[in-house]
């Protein structure tokens, strides 16, 4: 009897234990391990075990121009890509939401999301080739060929275009879901009040879909900051380091340079920065939302 009582009393806690254990193993342990490695010197090429080195990795990071360059590249590429994806995704969602049988468009649009980024990278590498189909079309139309991957600026744009191609549908789907969840009554009431066109969008649609937009942009931004596979396949960080993102540089440091300690420190720094950026973004959006309401 007594056992039953204890179980009843702590049922919630007891039931949560298995999930908690799994979470600790899968999330907490790697995070703690990463943190430990971040303050260690661990050079895989030396054959020596990790050794605690206090804040040496921070000193290296401060002076590491490649880290800062890759940080700038990451920010430039991810912000640009997410902005374009948002504009295109929103436009597409607005167009498709007006179409009654939109299942065909939804299916077509989400295909790109299902393709592995490595495959997309390989395809775009061929598309951007000097003798590839894109330049072929340009030449056919009488334009001169474009060096898609030969200058730092164009290479960044090319990477952004590949990312936009793959991830615009993600924005589209989430924003479309938001649009379709807006009750018709709101529009009817607004119409009665004489609101229409852009005003209808700004004062009825936008506030209602803002949570969906926030979610879509936040998720995409987190993913874009981790951009890796496409760049690995298309440019491998070139030309002259113009497309080397943080993820790629961390990967290179860990598995090419064999400097696992410093790579862990960079990864940990990236984790903190990512958390700060996302928190700020969510607060900013939340504040704006309150002001508008």
């Amino acid at each position: 009897m007594r056992t039953d009582n204890i179980f009843d009393k702590y049922a919630k806690q007891i039931l949560i234990v298995p999930s908690l254990v799994i979470l600790i193993i899968l999330i907490m342990y790697p995070t703690v391990y990463l943190l430990r490695m971040s303050f260690s010197s661990y050079d895989l090429t030396s054959g020596n075990p990790p050794a605690f080195n206090r804040i040496d990795n921070l000193n290296i990071l401060i002076k590491d121009k490649y880290f800062w360059q890759s940080m700038i590249n990451t920010i430039l590429i991810s912000i640009s890509a997410v902005m374009v994806e948002f504009i295109l995704g929103l436009s597409l969602a607005l167009i498709v939401s007006g179409i009654k049988k939109s299942i065909f468009f939804k299916t077509i649009f989400i295909i790109s999301m299902m393709i592995p980024p490595i495959v997309i990278g390989l395809n775009f590498k061929l598309i951007y080739d000097q003798f590839g189909p894109l330049n072929g079309i340009f030449k056919m139309l009488g334009f001169s060929e474009v060096g898609w991957l030969t200058s730092p600026g164009m290479a960044r744009i090319s990477i952004i275009m590949a990312d936009v191609w793959q991830w615009t549908p993600f924005m589209f789907i989430i924003i479309l879901a938001g649009l379709q969840s807006v009750p018709d009554e709101y529009y009817d009431t607004a119409k009665v009040d004489g609101v229409g066109g852009i005003k209808m969008f700004l004062f009825v649609t936008w506030p209602m879909i803002l949570p969906s937009i926030t979610l879509a942009v936040a998720l995409r931004f987190i993913e874009a900051l981790k951009l890796f596979d496409i760049i690995l396949m298309i440019t491998f960080g070139g030309p002259s380091g113009a497309t080397e993102t943080l993820s790629l540089y961390i990967y290179r440091t860990a598995f090419r340079f064999g400097d696992l300690g410093y790579a862990s420190f960079m990864a940990f720094t990236m984790l903190i920065l990512l958390s700060i950026v996302i928190t700020l973004f969510l607060r900013f959006v939340g504040l704006r939302k309150r002001l508008e309401w």
């Binding site: 895989l44 730092p152 960080g237 070139g238 030309p239 598995f255 090419r256 340079f257």
Partner: protein, 461 residues
Amino acid sequence: MIRKKVFLFILLLLAVVSFLAFAEGKKEEKVKLKVAIMSAHGMSDSAQAIAEKFNEKYGPGITVEVTPIGFDILLDKMLTDFSTHSGTFDVYSVGYHWIGTVGKYLYDLEEIRQKYPDIVDPEYDYEDFPKILWDTYATYQGENIGLPFVDGALTLFYRKDLTENPEYKAKFKEKYGYDLKMPGPGDENLTYQQLYDISEFFTNGVKWRDGEQFGISVPAASGDPLLSTYACFFGYYRRSPEGIKAFGEVNPDYGDYFTNDGRTAFNPEISDLGVKALNDYLNLGKFSPNPINLDWITSSEPFRSGITAMFIGWGGYWPSINAPDSPVHGKIAVSLMPMPHLGGWNVAINKDTKYPREAYMYIQMLTSKDNCKYLFMEFNETPTRISTMVDHELNADNPDLWVMAPALEKISVRPKLSILPKLEHSMGIILGKAWTGESKPREALLECAKEWDSIIKSMKE
């Protein structure tokens, strides 16, 4: 009663299982070697073919399983395996330029030979390997850490149907004042000026195809292509009397890019030879599809599809470029670069292997004299043995073979240092700026030299 029966049944079951496990343990342990081989250039096919021979001879007691792994991830795989001591693979193919990075994790083969003299093949003939290949592929810090498996020298592929065309030859002589002739066996190597002239001629001196045409494919993509190809240009000056005077003799561990006292040799503050070499490289790039996009594979493609007249690439590309379905099949030949550059692979044993004896038996078989010849005949595997390189019958049938021995006589080499990937990365970014026009060649070299010196300094610390 039932409980008792169930208990007895479980007890009996446990006894049977324990007996079977004991009996299994008593059986002789079977050895299955796991071998990771780079997948390109037919290397993994070659390793697989020898694995089949090996399994036939020593199986089922000892068997070999070959796993092909792509060039791009092989080093990552090795480093992870070695540093975690997981012993995923017993044997690896190791690019010689990675030896500095992973050398500490490789078995000293002399130790195995001493411990198991019964497995040493008396016919193996170590003297049959060119000295430079033994020194670079097989030796690290005085230990024998691998056996030379696949040779690699940057080679000049060219369209012989173009260079031997009488009309083009006459036009070339008229324009440049000397004969258009690609060096063959016994000839002097081209100079970079001659290579420049020929590239210019086949870019805009004569119309030899409909549509776009280029004189040469010059790889300059960030990473290994840029580092190796620039070594062809810099090594040309580095190994000249002027270069030896300025930098001293080449230290095999530091390679052509360093002075004999370990400073970055292409530093314009030491000598102008680095700038000269970079200018040669950049100038030749004018006659190529955009070099900054060209890695080893993407630079071979324009040549294979008939857009470029020449191509700087590894000898191992011959089979794919001259394959029967290739648009240039039967129209191509090879010659020596003005200064070739050494690539190539050994096969080495993971220090964490449980089966060093068996692993040695396999790599010994893979790199034996007979199998070197067999692999060249079957898979066009670029040989590491002099006997195969100079074999008259093979040379008569294979127009790509003759360059291999003379290429090794005077060839530039990369550093065998643990920090090579860092050097490669910084060179890709900084010299990449000379290719994109963001920096002038002298500025780029100066910046790169300073960066390299600081990386070397940190390595020494």
